[in-house]
């Protein structure tokens, strides 16, 4: 078997290539920000002698995170980094979907919207189970 790439590309592939570069930058920088936040949290955790296995897990509260960060609590940095991390792949889908829509590719834009819809259903289902 041999691999012989064909140089010709379609307009759809050219659009995808532009979006790939945009999505790549988002993922690369987002991961760095997320890891930096988590690293600060881990260092704070180690410095304050928290044992991750035996310590009680701090509850997740989106509203409490800014206050925890302002108070230099490790949990605030950890949660902020984890939230950025979880949002990143979604950001990639949103950016790609918007790009496909701008390029007139409605089918791929619809696919992006449906992916977001599935995530939204996950959130609603989780909140429903919680309630």
């Amino acid at each position: 078997m041999s691999f012989s790439p064909i140089p010709s590309t379609t307009p759809a592939q050219e659009t995808a290539a532009r979006l790939e570069s945009l999505a790549a930058r988002l993922l690369t920088w987002g991961t760095r920000v997320s890891m930096a936040l988590i690293l600060v949290g881990v260092l704070g955790m180690l410095a304050s002698g928290v044992d991750p296995i035996t310590a009680i897990s701090p509850p997740f509260s989106l509203a409490a995170i800014p206050g925890q960060i302002a108070a230099l609590e490790p949990a605030g940095f950890l949660w902020a980094g984890l939230i950025v991390l979880v949002v990143l792949p979604l950001g990639r889908v949103v950016v790609s979907g918007a790009g496909f829509l701008a390029a007139g590719d409605r089918r791929l834009a619809l696919v992006s919207a449906l992916v977001i819809l599935v995530i939204a259903i996950s959130i609603i289902a989780a909140l429903g189970l919680e309630g």
């Binding site: 759809a12 790549a24 987002g30």
Partner: protein, 275 residues
Amino acid sequence: MIAGLVLLAGGVAAGVFGSLLGLGGGILIVPLLTLGFGLPLRVAVAVSLVSVIVTSSASAGVYLEKHVANLRLGMVLELFSASGALVGGLVAFMLPPNVLEGLFAALLIWVAVSMVRRKDPPKNGSAVVPAAASAETPGTGTFTDTLNGPGYRVHSLPLGMGGSLFAGLVSALLGVGGGIIKVPTMHLMMGVPLKVATATSNMMIGITAVSSAVIYLLRGQIDPYVAGPTAVGVFAGAMIGTRIAPRVDVRVLRWLFVVVLSYTAFQMGQKALGL
């Protein structure tokens, strides 16, 4: 403090192994946390899903920049893997822990067998595509044609959708990326070159993991004290693995990994059976 450092080191090991062997870290992190630290399986799965997102975002950034991953195909298939993960994330809370442990042991054996049977890519290029497929110019007729990449045509899209749905389900239940299902599906069933399939799978596993990670997050199953050190370790390990890959004999590493997987499967199976 010691436990935090051990978690960090475990994450580094999972990241190094994962990047050298083309796997997400989940297959190592779940046993480390359950068998090594005695954490409940659901907590381990949740932490593992976080690590899978780290691996996916870090590697997908590189693959997309180099235009190796097929963004269009990945987005279509991840709709199905995300749907599977949604179902899996909900079902995971209904199944008894020992059933999940048994399933994980079966997955470990499957991965070990896949590792034994895997052939090394040729030294002069890993992007192998059937000659007949590569000889065709990408078409623009059907929807499937719009998913073609430069030099290859995508086919059997329904099979890919089914495979992705199953991969998402397994990912959410067991906290793994699901690349072990997605890559063969795309490469062997859909005619996607191996290198592109691997890169596209890496991109997809992020969304797959997010679909179920939000369920674990909102149900209070993600412990940031455990997830934090593990995630940072996996990130560092993946970077180390990428750098040392050219100097490591992956065949030796693979056999070592098979032994570790087999032993872990035995341990996990015993736990599932309550022995």
